[in-house]
Symmetry: C3
Subunit: 308 residues, 3 copies
Amino acid sequence: MAHLLTLTDLSLAEITSLLDEAEEFSEGKYWRAPELFFVANLFFEPSTRTKCSFEVAERKLGLQVIPFDADMSSVQKGETLYDTIRTLESIGVGAVVVRHPEDQYFEALRDSIAIPIINAGDGCGHHPTQSLLDLMTIRQEFGAFRGLTVAIVGDIRHSRVARSNAEVLTRLGATVLFASPDEWKDDTNQYGTYVDLDEAVQEADVIMLLRIQHERHEEKMGLARKQYHERYGLTVERAKRMKDRSIILHPAPVNRDVEIASCLVECMQSRIFKQMENGVYIRMAVLKRAVERGMENGNHLKKWQVVQ
Amino acid sequence: MAHLLTLTDLSLAEITSLLDEAEEFSEGKYWRAPELFFVANLFFEPSTRTKCSFEVAERKLGLQVIPFDADMSSVQKGETLYDTIRTLESIGVGAVVVRHPEDQYFEALRDSIAIPIINAGDGCGHHPTQSLLDLMTIRQEFGAFRGLTVAIVGDIRHSRVARSNAEVLTRLGATVLFASPDEWKDDTNQYGTYVDLDEAVQEADVIMLLRIQHERHEEKMGLARKQYHERYGLTVERAKRMKDRSIILHPAPVNRDVEIASCLVECMQSRIFKQMENGVYIRMAVLKRAVERGMENGNHLKKWQVVQ
Amino acid sequence: MAHLLTLTDLSLAEITSLLDEAEEFSEGKYWRAPELFFVANLFFEPSTRTKCSFEVAERKLGLQVIPFDADMSSVQKGETLYDTIRTLESIGVGAVVVRHPEDQYFEALRDSIAIPIINAGDGCGHHPTQSLLDLMTIRQEFGAFRGLTVAIVGDIRHSRVARSNAEVLTRLGATVLFASPDEWKDDTNQYGTYVDLDEAVQEADVIMLLRIQHERHEEKMGLARKQYHERYGLTVERAKRMKDRSIILHPAPVNRDVEIASCLVECMQSRIFKQMENGVYIRMAVLKRAVERGMENGNHLKKWQVVQ
């Protein structure tokens, strides 16, 4: 399949291959699409970093990026996502990157759209390039995943990152711990064990903080920022009890002094901005895969019949 | 004139020449602007397909596209369209593509703006590149226009497509039929004969469906979608009575199961996505014309006097 | 310092060097960034001309422009400007252009952001590229600044242009006159002498009109447009009393028949559109400086520690 919708769709071999290729891109590997290849980034939710990261990756591969403004689009006129993407395909776009607020928006498209779809986040569902960049950052530190303990901390229930990462880290042989307020526990996610935050911080090799998505979940925690930080955040005090070689990850944007003390964002153990850098290399690898597979599918533009 | 504002401005020879050039682009013809040439797409109304189609065409010709966000522009500060375009001209933009909600917005600009303006839709007025891509799609099927019967179906009164196409198809020797609810008939359009929808479907070589522009016209039809579809839409039942070689066109975005049964959108007789593909080639031809004429006008940037 | 935040930060030698380079660009000088260099334009306020002008300048230098939509950005999620720019830096952006409604937004960034920041306007504060293009336009006419009389007319208090220009013109040896309604006088600006508008018009070599920023200042003048024009605008009558070689500048967008009679906008003495053209060359010079200094800083992406 040319799409990249969830990491669950990928074998460990495919995941490793994407990580290897991303690593090569981080070391300066040069690869360019062999012809004028158009992509469009369809972002139906705000996101600076993911959209810009894809844009940089696309330009580095020499792709032509067609601007797509979801606010100005015909989706405003009630057009389905299928029709929007088929339209883009018809005008010559060879792959699309989609961020959409609806969980699994892509199930209606998986078998009906011929050009590769790269999922850049679906509702509370998946975010495969974020997971891959987390994996890349972890592998750069520790060389492998087997035997590592990864604590995922925060709003487990509404997090795409928690969902994607717990599954793939377990598959890769890591042990996953969850630390979360009761309201945000996720009984449907079987890939981690809930522990106390202080225990998680002390045992983990990787502390993966989640963003409090004020703009997404509807329940209110009823806690002031400061209270939340004390109870469920990575405070300076807690950070002192981390293991020596442990690292801190966060998908960003960070709510400073909520999920993490502001002064820890760029501390020695933080890889938060390193994750962003790695995101570009991951997206280059994922886009290269899409371009190559999209071109194998080939000539999709020739399929309309012309009566002679 | 370097502008392309309405098809009425063009002779049949000019129209044929644009169609021929678009056909060559569809077959892979390569043409590039001979120097760094800037264009801007000024869309004061939402439109995925037209804007993206122009973008792809522009990139294929090697043009530099300057992003222009109408929402963020100085038009918000009360600036006239003339001043906006003169500004773009001053900073080096060599041609503009304009979509605007006001009918004939371009009359105030026609003689005062030196760089080519390509009209990408004015209110309920004209949409010349849409008409040209319709003509291209028809000519690909039938080789010529004389003797063809083209039925234009739906909201005749508010449609740019009905207006532009009826006039040019009549000029090209085709017979135009209109089928429309009474509320949407257009007494000012003399280029077609009103007939019953069922008659139109059976007689036409080309069934050109119009979009119900919920966002544009103010009158309500007072019909549920399903009722409208039964009375005025291309149902599966009606489609069975089409002539064997007849084709279906629609300017899109389609309201599925309103103007046309959803299952017909990609049926054998539909050229809806083919139209979109052709739109890119038409826009390449139109842009090439603008670039060539814009460069003949030349050196417009040198016209400010510098006192020595 | 690689940033360009205010003209006050620059020595006269640096200013002259930027003007000289811009002049060379206006004469066709070719300079390209030596490698794939990414920039982003962060516009948190509407502005057609400044944003498009930077875009054209960036493309002319072969820079890769990463689209950034402030409305869709994580700033909507409460992210700080520091984190936004650090994010862009992390994904490989080498310089940013920022327009922001807050005065001196850049003070929090000046020492903490490694990549060059080009200030494209801060609140009622500074707008250095606008000032430079004004200087360039004046120097093209008169060859030098010493001995010139420059009248700045209009809303002195809320104008970035008045603030930047009065200081730098005084430093360059020009005499600055202000003409303004009482409500808009600025006691904190010591670089000009308030005179009557009619006196200003007759004495000035350069009449620099300011925009009435309806969207910015909160006080209302309580005058109809026509009244304002008669009392404080450049009317046809007043223009007749200008000196022979005097010129008219305006930062645009122009409120026609308010600050200036509509028929004067493109008159022989107006350099309003010439200013816009010069803006592109100024921005090319400023961007070239940023690229060169940004590359000297070098390898900022390598600063995250990877524990081996």
